[in-house]
Symmetry: C2
């Protein structure tokens, strides 16, 4: 394995920081794991050793590495893995994130989506780096449960997935999201915009635009919260 | 006004960093504002000057201060204000946060609550500092729209607010939250636990315990997302 350096977006590999995301990676994508570093002060190693030896993944020690790679003090396990890209499922509902810029938000959205049963997210570039260790940490390792695919535009996404009913979440959306009136559909794409700018008005004409009702006392809901509410309502529609 | 130092929790005053939260503070609590610093490179000053002069609040210049107080580069306005405590409304529904530890989460929850029409949050100590500039920033200034009150225990909160129907959000809650079966109540307290530990099992016997259904592929939803989903459903119950 090559020498370990602080993460850069241009790398073809990345890191999981902490035991929890490292386990998630080992369970979901063992074939991509190049090695797992365990700090000598970490004692709960039985499960890790078992999983790694099953998949012939080297367990390594290098305590100095931890300060170099992680900015948190409570990190005792680091996994090294090759980055990968997926293809979304044609027959499953999707979330589409248009130009999300904050890694913490992207990680939280991934964790939320997987928690609510959506395993496919399309990312319209430019967007935050999915494989940055910060994104992975804020996803709590749920990144490894997810199918994720990048597209250079929403049109390119739609060309590939033509059977989905599209719902765009916008402050000026034409339809107010209410529990009683959530559109009933089995195959949907829920589209959310950038944290600062939202979706531009061209998205008013793409599918059905939806506004989550909110008080005039805030500028808007945080995008992670909008995704949580929208996804919960759509995945729990009454029939 | 005393000399400006980097924020500490022990201070009796705090800062708003950025124009948006500073405006929110000036609109909601002008009587508490001691002064507003405006960076000389900031040009959109008309609204600020008008609001400050209406309330006889000094506008100050000290460009060096900005690096000292703010760790973000795009901060051009800093407000200085006296901290305050509120009393929750007896006749409005509440959110209760038990020992929240992360300032970003607390700020996001405040923004979400106010956005969804809940203006009263009880905080059970120990908890993250509401007045830390980071909390205020992640609330996008919604802190100033909120009534917030601290209690040393949940029992102390309940002693003061006895008419609320209490719902505790727990992974092992007895009732699954669904759109169709959300309890119908006009005066409720939604109770959420600490980020890492949730609510302990003693809360199973306090009011009605509720679990937000989630896939086995995540450890749990982020507490901010749980608050967003729970609050949206309770404030939009079908009748």
């Amino acid at each position: 394995m090559e020498p370990i350096k602080p993460y850069k977006k241009s790398f073809e590999y990345s890191y999981t920081l902490g035991a929890f995301p490292t386990f998630e990676m080992l369970k979901c994508h063992p074939e991509l794991v190049k090695g797992v570093y365990v700090h000598t002060s970490f004692t709960d190693t039985d499960g890790l050793i078992k999983l790694c030896s099953e998949h012939k993944i080297p367990i390594l020690t290098n305590d100095k590495l931890f300060n170099k790679i992680s900015d948190k003090e409570n990190c005792f396990v680091i996994g090294v893995f090759d980055k990968y890209e997926c293809t979304l499922e044609q027959n499953r509902s999707h979330i589409v994130l248009v130009n999300p810029s904050n890694m913490g938000n992207v990680g939280t959205i991934i964790r939320t989506a997987v928690g609510l049963g959506i395993y496919d997210i399309a990312f319209i570039t430019p967007c935050a780096d999915l494989f940055n260790p910060k994104t992975i940490r804020s996803s709590m390792g749920a990144l490894f449960r997810l199918r994720h695919q990048h597209f250079s535009s929403f049109e390119e996404y739609q060309k590939n997935y033509q059977n989905h009913d599209v719902f765009t979440f916008m402050l000026n959306g034409s339809n107010t999201l209410e529990i009683q009136n959530c559109p009933k559909t089995d195959l949907f794409s829920l589209v959310f915009g950038n944290e600062a700018t939202g979706l531009d008005d061209s998205f008013l004409n793409v599918g059905t635009s939806i506004c989550i009702p909110q008080s005039p006392d805030v500028d808007s809901l945080n995008v992670t919260i909008a995704v949580g509410i929208g996804t919960f309502i759509f995945t729990h529609q009454t029939r």
